[in-house]
Structures are given as structure tokens and as C-alpha cells.
């Protein structure tokens, strides 16, 4: 196999992803749009929909003025995109993620590491990933008890977190 085509192929693939990412970023920043309105529309898309409904029209006017006044360069686009991402992060609802993590971890501790491990400890089966089966018989029930207790506590906390998040969203309208 000739070395030349191989190097060319490696170079092409090495360049492909950075170039593709840059082109995609420029596209998302509104480059390639033929009109200022198209560019403004692309920039506003960085903000969450609810934010756009409330403030979008006003920010669009500031962007129109900035572009018309010769201040609509690349730095302006990056600034608007960064602020849009910051608003998206602020608007993101973390409660379901936190609740999911707590309930998921709690269920894992309660069911496989607690209840299933307790049942399996009565039979001569492979220990697999059940932590309680790796300790001596005297500490086994201590580990199982800890898993069940901690699992129930985490599920309770997760359910509480989720319910509090739902109540906050419904009261916010």
C-alpha cells in the first residue's frame, strides 16, 4: 500500500471534524443567512422559547440597531449565543434530574443490593455484583440492612424532590 494516499486520507479525516464543527457553529450563529432578519432569527434561536416570547421582540430590535450601526460583527454573534445558552441553563429544570438520580440510586440499593441479595444469600449461587455476598456471614445482614434503609431513604427524598418541582411549576403557571 502506498504511503501517500494513506497520509492524505488521515489528513482528510483529521481535518473533517474540526472543519465540520466550525461550519456548523457559523451556521448556528446565522452566517450564511442572506438577510439581517434571517441572522437575527438564528441568533434568537439560542434563547429558550419562553424567554423569546417575553423578550425576543425587544432584543431583536437592539440587534437590528446594532447591525445597522455597524456593530453586528462576529463578537456580537458570539455574545448573543453565549447569553442565550446562559438563559437556557437558567431555565433548565434540575428537579427531575435530581429526583431521577435519587430514585434510580435508591431503587438499585433497595431491590438488587438489598432484597435480591437477601434472597440469594440463602442459596449457593454465584456472588455476581451483589456486594452483601462478598462479606462474611456476620456482616452480611448489616450490609443488606444498610442497602434497604439507604435505598428507602433515597427513594423518599427523590419522590419529595420531584413532587416539590411539580408543585413549583404548576404554581408558576
Amino acid at each position: 500500500m502506498k504511503r501517500g494516499p494513506v497520509i492524505a486520507e488521515i489528513a482528510a479525516w483529521t481535518l473533517f471534524f474540526p472543519v465540520a464543527i466550525v461550519l456548523l457553529a457559523l451556521r448556528l450563529l446565522g452566517y450564511g443567512r442572506t438577510t439581517p432578519e434571517g441572522r437575527i432569527e438564528a441568533l434568537l434561536a439560542w434563547y429558550p422559547a419562553r424567554w423569546r416570547a417575553q423578550h425576543g421582540e425587544e432584543l431583536a430590535q437592539i440587534l437590528r440597531d446594532a447591525i445597522a450601526g455597524g456593530r453586528g460583527g462576529f463578537r456580537m454573534s458570539v455574545d448573543v449565543a453565549r447569553e442565550g445558552l446562559a438563559e437556557r441553563t437558567r431555565a433548565f429544570r434540575w428537579q427531575p434530574v435530581r429526583a431521577g438520580f435519587l430514585i434510580g440510586t435508591g431503587s438499585t440499593m433497595l431491590v438488587p443490593q438489598g432484597i435480591v441479595a437477601a434472597i440469594l444469600s440463602q442459596f449457593d449461587l454465584p456472588r455476581s455484583w451483589f456486594l452483601a455476598l462478598y462479606v462474611g456471614p456476620e456482616a452480611r445482614w448489616l450490609v443488606i440492612g444498610f442497602m434497604v434503609g439507604a435505598g428507602l431513604l433515597l427513594i423518599e427524598r427523590g419522590t419529595r424532590t420531584y413532587t416539590a418541582g411539580c408543585t413549583r411549576v404548576s404554581s408558576a403557571g
Binding site: H55, E57, E58, L59, A60, Q61, I62, L63, D65, A66, G69, R71, R75, M76, D79, V80, A81, R82, E83, G84, A86, E87
Partner: protein, 109 residues
């Protein structure tokens, strides 16, 4: 509601400039950008400007007026004037101390 501009984090710098600009009269977004550039030589870009404006309005430091079409002018509220006064007084104190120490250090050289 806090009455301290420092609680705005990275927006506290732009917020001080915006409030200083509005202390000279009500202005809409783009006029604010031009005024800040003229008196402070700082370019506030639209995203940062609007991020700071929306936070200042939520804190009750500025209020929007009825505008012509899509442009909404903002004006300083009494709470905003108080917060700006406190912020500028704190900055002046730092500047005074810094300048005094620099001049003392210069005299010692």
C-alpha cells in the same frame, strides 16, 4: 429583593454602566450602548446588555416606559439610584485608597 449590585455577579460591571447611563435620562437599548461607549469607552454587546437590563428590571432598579414601536426606553428608579450611589461610593473609596498608596509608593522611590 437584594439592593446590592454585587449580587448580579458577572453582570455587576455592565449594570453599573447601564445605571450610570440612565442617571442622565431614559434611553432605549441601542442608545444605551452608544452612550456607554461614549462616556466609558466600553462596548456593551447586545446579549450582555439585554441580560443585564432584564435582571435590573427584575430587581426593580430600572423600569420600562411606553416606547415608539419595538424600542422600549428604560429609566432609573429611586431604588436603582440608591444602588448606583452605593456602588459608585464603594468604587470611589477603592480608587482613593489605591491612588493614595500609589502616590506614596512613587514618593518613596
Amino acid at each position: 429583593m437584594s439592593d446590592d449590585l454585587a449580587t448580579l455577579g458577572r453582570y455587576s460591571g455592565p449594570a453599573t454602566l447601564i445605571l450610570s447611563s440612565l442617571a442622565g435620562g431614559a434611553k432605549h437599548g441601542y442608545a444605551l450602548m452608544q452612550d456607554v461607549e461614549a462616556f466609558a469607552d466600553v462596548t456593551l454587546r447586545p446579549g450582555t446588555l439585554y441580560g443585564a437590563l432584564s435582571r435590573l428590571e427584575a430587581m426593580g432598579f430600572i423600569e420600562a416606559l411606553e416606547g415608539d414601536g419595538r424600542r422600549r426606553p428604560y429609566r432609573l428608579t429611586p431604588a436603582g439610584a440608591g444602588a448606583l450611589h452605593a456602588q459608585l461610593a464603594a468604587q470611589r473609596q477603592v480608587a482613593d485608597v489605591g491612588l493614595r498608596r500609589l502616590s506614596t509608593a512613587g514618593a518613596m522611590r
